[in-house]
């Protein structure tokens, strides 16, 4: 199944990074410390980059800034060579977001949701119909596509949420904990589909609390805490570099501590 066009077709140039984040700082008004303090990230085309961290580490803030939803206090973000802060409208044609919440209209069916989001992305006519059918097939909801979202199970909602994120074939897909709160079968299916998207060249920025998922899926991960990166690299290399830690989960706990976060 051909989901994403080839690199050549997409106009990617050799050596260019899909995403470059430089010295990103974000301070919220009234907050005691910065949510992000000098975050630096660099992601290659076609790579799945894992952004790991405990609650409140700054993952969602970072993704919001990268998606042009939030303005940073300072720093820069470049996606496919386009400055996010200067040209947010161009960026919106390149990115897709799968938020942590089920960002769908619960009183519309999946097909109606996809039709609306597709039109907003500029898809029309047969192309729109084909893309809707394709995305519904990818997430395995063909039989339920004409049922309203509120009738879906948790796993179905997560899959539908993914379908809306990939509808317009984004160059970079941001996934904010896309598998939270669902059963093993649905999670497994979502991970399979993400692998398929990666194989077809989609770059992904992936946040999760499931370290196993990150190990399985991501070419590179960054563990962030209190707004800055405390470890970065391919998961296996990070584990090797930290003797005594058998898994990414152990390493994560060693780096971020066992103190509960709010």
């Amino acid at each position: 199944m051909q989901i994403i066009d080839t690199a050549e077709k997409r106009g990617e140039t050799a050596g260019e990074k899909a995403l470059v984040v430089k010295d990103l700082v974000k301070k919220y008004k009234g907050s005691s410390g910065p949510a992000l303090s000098g975050l630096d990230i660099s992601v290659n085309y076609g790579e799945i980059f894992g952004l790991l961290g405990p609650n409140g580490a700054g993952k969602t803030t970072a993704i919001s800034i990268m998606c042009a939803l939030l303005r940073p206090t300072s720093g820069s973000v470049t996606i496919c060579g386009v400055d996010v802060l200067k040209q947010p409208n161009r960026i919106r044609r390149l990115i897709g977001l799968v938020p942590q919440d089920i960002a769908l209209y619960s009183n519309l069916t999946l097909r109606e949701n996809l039709r609306y989001f597709g039109r907003i992305c500029g898809l029309k006519g047969q192309e729109l119909k084909d893309r809707i059918a394709e995305c519904i097939e990818i997430v395995g909801l063909e039989k339920k596509a004409d049922q309203r979202i509120f009738t879906y199970s948790g796993g179905m909602k997560r899959r539908a949420n993914l379908a809306a994120g990939i509808l317009h074939k984004p160059r970079i897909l941001f996934l904010d904990e896309p598998t939270v709160g669902i059963d093993a079968q649905s999670r497994n299916m979502i991970l399979e589909k993400l692998t398929l998207l990666k194989e077809n060249g989609t770059t992904m920025i992936y946040t999760t609390h499931y370290m196993g998922e990150a190990e399985q899926l991501c070419a590179c991960v960054a563990i962030i805490d209190e707004g800055h990166i405390i470890a970065e690299g391919p998961p296996q290399e990070l584990i090797k570099q930290a003797p005594g830690h058998a898994s990414l989960r152990d390493l994560f706990l060693a780096l971020t501590g066992k103190r509960l976060r709010d």
Binding site: T61, C67, L70, L97, P99, A103, N107, L108, R119, C121
Partner: protein, 450 residues
């Protein structure tokens, strides 16, 4: 335009499936118009703006009772009832019916009143002609005749205005009867009086022809008034008929219903923000203005249907329930412009509320309460002229007052596009200001994460 169209379709679909929203948008305003217009119609009846049923007990059964009945009916103020359950009522039953609030009042015409009035008229005329009891023409010599009374029993809940109107009408009827009776006596006695005076002065030398030729009074004085009070409309193009309660209530409560769209509209915006569909949309190649424009257009469309439905109720359903029919005002084009301006003002407020309120609970509490306050200030519940001076000044800041004033110009005062232009300007300005403030607030709070 394509993206705005997509948003309009999505909003209409969501509204169509939102039962509570549909209830707020269609059923509630329709019920409000129906109930309040029917209730107000009854209140106006009790205040005398349309005919009220009253009980009349005529114990006399002579000409005076018949004249009172005829003149009251001619006033158009009352509908006279003389029987309950096919049986004539007596004074005791009539008073009981008033006590039980079955009737607002009853009029009792006592036995012998016709005879007493005639005798009293004769006595008064004779007095005025300085004829004493012993004079030849005085056929009813004796003591002073008591003035006969017509009794009126009121239900204590009857409002002062209506009470005065009924008493004034009765007094007018009585004055008319008095003049007639006095003139009748005078026309009979005056030739006799002149004859008697001439004979007294000239004795037996008066020629018989002179006495025969003394003219009688033929004219019916009470039905030939010298002056008339004529009610004239202040507006040039005013309606021929006096505006009814329907004419005032239907546009007023339709406007109230239009402003109630702020609840589903603000609710929709808050839900989109909370379930992050708005975040998803803002990562797509579409501007916030396009998204909001789609929403506003969808709600304008819905409100137009809502307004049309309320006009249909006023035109066709209310008359079936005994109310007067709504007459579409003097300038349909101006009506459309006012309606669109009022709807835009309401949607602007809905967008502002949906942007500023943090939770649906906040919006669903603050929205309706603020609209009820604005409606009260705007004269929807009590006319602005009836408010204290300070409230009248405050009411000038209520969008509902601007809308209502413009609607009443068209529905009641016979105005036109020129007379409503300033109100339309205020409503559209309110829309622009609320949208601008919402936009600034949204970008400040959302984009900066404040």
């Amino acid at each position: 335009m394509f993206k705005i169209g997509a948003t309009v379709i999505k909003e209409l679909l969501l509204l169509w499936r939102d039962r509570a929203g549909m209830l707020v948008l269609f059923v509630m305003p329709a019920l409000l118009v129906l109930v309040i217009t029917l209730v107000q119609e009854n209140v106006l009846r009790t205040m005398g703006e349309s005919s009220t049923r009253i009980l009349l007990v005529d114990k006399d059964g002579q000409s005076l009772g018949q004249t009172v009945e005829k003149k009251l009916l001619e006033s158009g103020l009352v509908e006279i009832i003389k029987e309950i359950d096919g049986r004539e009522v007596d004074e005791k039953e009539a008073v009981e019916a008033v006590i039980n609030s079955d009737f607002q009042l009853c009029i009792i015409i006592p036995k012998g009143i016709t005879k007493a009035v005639k005798a009293k008229a004769r006595q008064v005329v004779m007095k005025s002609l300085s004829m004493d009891d012993t004079s030849a023409v005085n056929k009813t010599p004796g003591k002073e005749i008591q003035r006969p009374d017509i009794a009126v029993y009121f239900d204590p809940t009857v409002l002062g205005g209506f009470r005065s109107a009924i008493l004034n009408s009765l007094n007018l009827v009585i004055v008319g009867i008095e003049i007639d009776e006095k003139m009748k006596v005078l026309s009979r006695l005056l030739p006799e009086y002149i004859n008697m005076s001439i004979r007294k002065e000239m004795g037996p030398f008066v020629p018989e022809d002179l006495i025969k030729d003394i003219p009688g009074i033929q004219l019916d004085f009470s039905s030939n008034p010298l002056l008339e009070v004529r009610e004239k409309p202040a507006y040039e193009n005013a309606f021929e008929k006096t505006p009814t309660s329907v004419q005032q209530n239907v546009p007023a409560w339709a406007l109230f219903g239009i402003f109630f769209i702020v609840v589903p509209m603000a609710g929709g915006l808050i839900k989109e923000r909370h379930d992050k569909t708005l975040s998803r949309l803002l990562t797509m190649p579409v501007s916030y203005i396009t998204l909001i424009s789609g929403k506003v257009i969808a709600y304008v469309f819905v409100c137009l249907i809502q307004f049309g439905l309320i006009l249909v109720i006023g035109k066709f359903l209310l008359p079936l329930l005994g109310s007067p029919m709504l007459e579409i005002g003097s300038d349909p084009m101006a009506l459309i412009i006012i309606t669109l301006s009022a709807i835009l003002a309401a949607t602007g407020y809905g967008v502002l509320l949906g942007t500023v309120a943090r939770t649906y609970e906040q919006a669903s509490m603050f929205g309706p309460i603020s609209i009820v306050i604005a409606a009260a200030l705007g004269g929807i519940m009590v006319p602005v002229y009836a408010m204290p001076k300070i409230m009248q000044k405050i009411s000038a800041f209520s969008p509902l007052e601007w809308g209502l004033d413009a609607f009443l110009d068209i529905f009641v005062r016979g105005g036109n596009i020129k007379t409503v232009l300033f109100d339309v300007f205020l409503l559209l300005s309110f829309f622009v200001v609320t949208m601008f403030v919402s936009w600034i607030y949204f970008f400040h709070k959302t984009r900066n994460g404040a």
